[in-house]
Amino acid sequence: MAWLKRLVGAALVLGCAGAAAGWPLSAPVRLDAAALTQLGPGDAAKGKRIFYAGGCTSCHAKPGSQGDARLQLVGGLELKTPFGTFVPPNISQDPKDGIGGWSVEDLANAMLKGVSPSGEHFYPAFPYASYARMKPSDIADLYAYLKTLPAVAGKAPGNSLAFPFTIRRGIGLWKLLYLSNQPVIPLPDGTPDPVVAGRYLVEGPGHCGECHTPRDFAGGIKKGEWLAGAVAAEGSGVVSNITSGEGGIGRWSAADIANYLETGFTPDFDSVGGTMVDVQRNMAQLTPEDRAAIAAYLKAVPPHPNGYPARKKTVN
């Protein structure tokens, strides 16, 4: 997680600069009234789709759980980084240990602004930099769906980060640079509907870019190499280039991509692996139309060569 180290380092530098320039710059910013009125009543049935598109279980389910136990969102997964461990918390409906006591506005502020009910910044290990592109009404639907899931007691252990990474305030300046609700890839008028729908799913709830895009010196997404593949943020290895550029998936048809998201099989009959397995299992819960939209968007994004360094050949 070298990028995260750089991210926090940069945030700290910025934090000091911010302190000099004015502490208010790093203050948490909540949603404005206009955004809150767009929340609407919320529909649990629609929220289920957002839940799987957003991959909440990948990080918040009990590590190693299978089947229905994936819906017990007790947290506890360890996201190991060189400077400490992030632990996604309990987001079940338990009023004390989970988020059973949260309002829909609380959830919207967490997902769209990265701000907690008590007014602190969340770390971007919670992928709100992508979720920020979601429609408020989708958050309300998700909230309604989360309400249908079980309350499970038990607090996950907190993050164990070394000082000075424990300082949340610096993240406010990082947000000034990287938090935006605007699309990454501008699409001209007349772009076919599935491509536009796919853009929303990939850039917003799907947060595909969080893993598939390389990061800059401050840990921000390099939009100029969007989905070009990257050195894995967590653990070792690389994440695939999913553009049509060299090293990417240009040979795959849109149907191949949709089939991979549904079944986990690649066109050359390999099977999905690594952190993509949870993502694929979530994608399998979506409708064929949604998977086709994601595929259509991936075929439409600008091609890039691999965003990670070529492998050093081992010579024996």
Binding site: G264, G273, D278, Q280
Partner: protein
Amino acid sequence: MRKLVIAISMLALAGSAAFADPILDRQALMKERGKIVGGLSKVVKGEEPFDAAAVLTQLQALQANAEKLDVDALFPKGSDAGDTTAGPKIWEDMAGFKSVEDKYLAHVKAATAAAPADVDALKVQINTLGGDCGTCHQTFRIKKG
């Protein structure tokens, strides 16, 4: 000079012998797995007609393939180095790795024993087996650049 030539050709010979290169051998078995399951998933998707006898033959081939995968011989210590996507977790948790493979083998055997009579039955089996591929690849494989 002549000795050198002989030595080189002997090396080449050794290289082509069975189990001389565990990485290549296990990859060949995995590729075969992929090919068989890929063929069966075409039947599931209706791209090829369902023929009960042909399907059973394929499932039997998948079972033979799984029985051939001798973990001790094909995943010796140190064989995570080189042109391989095998992850270090295999050697950190050899018992866990073997139990995932055993579970997969049990599912393949159950599929062969229950010889699917129609596409729906085959679909259920392919979903289970495909899930097993992902479960193992999730923990025990690493994509490298």
